[in-house]
């Protein structure tokens, strides 16, 4: 089974949330589930709470919360929303579902 180029490297993800808003919580919960299922042991997740410091949102030009930023592998990609649509999220992140054992 051939993996695409993106799958061969680790993932560096950054999730922007706004405190305990429902969508933020849902996004974090959905993302953890996907990461543990498809990227176990080869991802790093940073959770950035813009409520604590809104200026942090400027780094990745965030306009809506929640937003997931795929920093590595490049190119940088942003996915906005609660990440409830797993297929769409996996596609946008470039994760080959068939690679999962």
């Amino acid at each position: 089974m051939k993996k695409n180029a993106e799958d061969l490297s680790g993932y560096n993800l950054r999730l922007y949330i706004a405190g305990q808003t429902p969508k933020s919580i849902a996004a974090l919960s959905n993302l953890r589930g996907l990461c543990e299922k498809y990227l176990s042991g080869r991802y790093r997740l940073d959770v950035v709470d813009v409520m604590a410091d809104p200026a942090l949102a400027q780094r990745d030009e965030i306009i809506a919360i929640p937003t997931l930023v795929r920093c590595v592998p490049e190119p940088i990609k942003r996915i906005i929303g609660d990440l409830g649509n797993s297929d769409r999220v996996l596609t946008r992140l470039g994760i080959d579902v068939s690679a999962k054992v």
């Binding site: 949330i17 706004a18 305990q20 808003t21 429902p22 969508k23 933020s24 919580i25 849902a26 974090l28 919960s29 959905n30 993302l31 953890r32 589930g33 543990e36 959770v47 709470d49 813009v50 409520m51 809104p54 200026a55 949102a57 400027q58 965030i62 306009i63 809506a64 919360i65 929640p66 937003t67 190119p75 990609k77 942003r78 996915i79 906005i80 929303g81 609660d82 409830g84």
Partner: protein, 514 residues
């Protein structure tokens, strides 16, 4: 060059296309309600604007309530945690969301949690569980579980009430009950004081001893003591008051086995052993003292009596040795052949031994004179010897110091009768009588039917010993009459004084025969 420019241009176009796509997705997400906050520019930089809905007030209530609140998905991962629960475990909220709730329960409670969640999915249920905090410690909590539906998906709602304070209170109450029961059941007087010297707790035994309630009173007033510090203490031999002992113990010195007396009229004859030690709180500060008083009055009395007995025994041993030495010397001076000396000395030692047997049997108390007479004459009277002596007299109770001298006198009289007088022939008889005129005891020894006395009779050593003993030890007189009809002896000595010191049966010892 043109090729490179085209590539850069293509890359920029791609980036712009990507950004456009993201912008379109952002708009769609906002339109669909997939986002609930926007980052907008403000005069002082970016500002987060939340898109609060109708649920916002409820969310705020859950966020600010003093119980932990969790929602779990069907896979029992945490979908939502309020800040209180995260704070309870010592994690940021983001660390909890998406993880199995079982990760945060003490391992020994994992099965109980699973069981609780199974029940809670069917009908509301609650149970006490221990959660594992970030620092590794366990937090007891009451967990209530109920089911709910989130976006048409079944979920569980958990309300977690921290029981740490309640458990701590229960432990404190249990410790208090335990301490109280110890105080109630202690047979010793236990008194607990605070640093001001005021009694905060006292055992039943302590209140019974002092015959009043003690709690709330100053130790120095309620239990005034005079304490002698034990030999091993820093200030050994020093006598201290209750207040001084308190100050000593508050400086973190402990006392073990200090003898104490309570300076109250009702208790001044009682003796106690005092143990005292500092009472420390958790940080190690001295917050008071614990005093334990054990009554040792009986032990002290026994120790005093034992000391007295040892001294008395020592005195008596010396006394008896002096008597034996005196008897030996006098016997030796009156008997020139070794066989005569042996016979005479053995007889006198037996008389001495008999006197001590009688004294020991009577625990060195008073001895009945008639008993002494009977036992002294036993070798010559009764049994195979027949009834060769008779005696009568008023009841005469002899103090211990008169027993040895009278025993010696009776021995000399009996020996003399056996050698030369009434006991030397079959029909010889001895009549013994005594009476008291209130001042003196009049004792007579009269021999009849003895062998005829021939020629001049010379007083022998036995006669001298009798006279000497009666004179020196009984403070009386002896009149010996060697009549041809039979030997007669009349003794007069003061009536023994009735002893009143019943507590000191061994204090009066026989004086040596000189």
């Amino acid at each position: 060059m043109k090729g490179i420019a085209k590539k850069i241009q293509a890359s920029e176009v791609e980036t712009l296309r990507l950004r456009l796509t993201e912008a379109e997705e952002a708009l769609q997400a906002i339109a669909k309600g997939s986002v609930d906050a926007l980052v907008v520019g403000g005069p002082r930089g970016p500002v987060v604007s939340t898109l609060a809905g109708a649920q916002e007030p409820y969310r705020l209530v859950v966020e600010r309530m003093h119980e932990g609140a969790l929602t779990l998905g069907e896979d029992r991962r945490i979908l939502y945690s309020n800040r209180h629960f995260a704070h309870l475990l010592g994690y940021p909220v983001a660390h909890l969301v998406g993880k199995p709730v079982a990760n945060f329960v003490a391992p020994e409670d994992a099965a109980r949690l699973a069981d609780l969640l199974d029940h809670g999915a069917k009908q509301p249920a609650s149970r006490e569980l221990k959660f594992r905090r970030r620092d590794g410690s366990a937090t007891p909590a009451l967990v209530g579980v109920g089911s709910l539906t989130l976006d048409q998906t079944p979920a569980l709602l958990l309300i977690i009430t921290d029981l740490t304070a309640q458990k701590h209170s229960e432990e404190l109450a249990a410790a208090e009950r335990f301490a109280r029961s110890i105080l109630e059941q202690a047979t010793e007087a236990v008194v607990v004081c605070n640093a001001d010297g005021r009694i905060t707790k006292a055992s039943f035994a302590a209140e019974r001893l002092l015959d009043k309630p003690l709690e709330g009173k100053l130790l120095a007033d309620a239990v005034p003591m005079e304490v002698e510090l034990p030999a091993e203490a820093h200030h050994s031999g020093v006598r201290m008051s209750s207040r001084e002992v308190l100050e000593l113990v508050l400086e973190r010195h402990s006392l073990r086995g200090a003898e104490a007396q309570i300076c109250l009229p009702r208790l001044h004859e009682k003796h106690f052993l005092l143990s005292a030690g500092p009472l420390s709180d958790e940080p190690g500060g001295c917050i008071g003292c614990i005093f334990t008083l054990t009554e040792i009055t009986d032990r002290k009395r026994a120790e005093t009596q034992q000391t007295m007995l040892v001294a008395e025994l020592n005195h008596r041993v010396k006394n008896i040795l002096a008597i034996v030495q005196s008897v030996a010397w006098q016997t030796l001076s009156a008997n020139h052949s070794p066989s005569e000396f042996k016979r005479a000395f053995d007889g006198r030692l037996r008389a001495l031994s008999l006197a001590h047997d009688i004294l020991t049997q009577g625990r060195w108390g008073h001895v009945d004179f008639e008993q002494l007479v009977e036992r002294s004459l036993a070798p010559y009277h009764g049994g195979d010897h027949g009834m060769r002596a008779q005696w009568s007299g008023s009841r005469l109770s002899l103090p211990p110091n008169m027993v040895v001298p009278l025993s010696m006198v009776l021995h000399e009289l009996s020996t003399n009768a056996a050698k030369y007088g009434a006991f030397s022939v079959e029909h010889g008889r001895v009549n013994i009588a005594w009476r008291s005129d209130g001042v003196n005891v009049l004792f007579t020894w009269t021999e009849t039917n003895g062998p005829p006395v021939k020629g001049e009779i010379k007083a022998g050593f036995g006669s001298k010993l009798i006279s000497r003993v009666v004179s020196y030890d009984l403070l009386g007189t002896a009149d010996l009459d060697f009549d041809r009809e039979g030997f007669r002896c009349a003794l007069t000595f003061p009536v023994p004084k009735l002893r009143t010191d019943a507590l000191r049966p061994l204090s009066a010892a026989p004086s040596p025969v000189h």
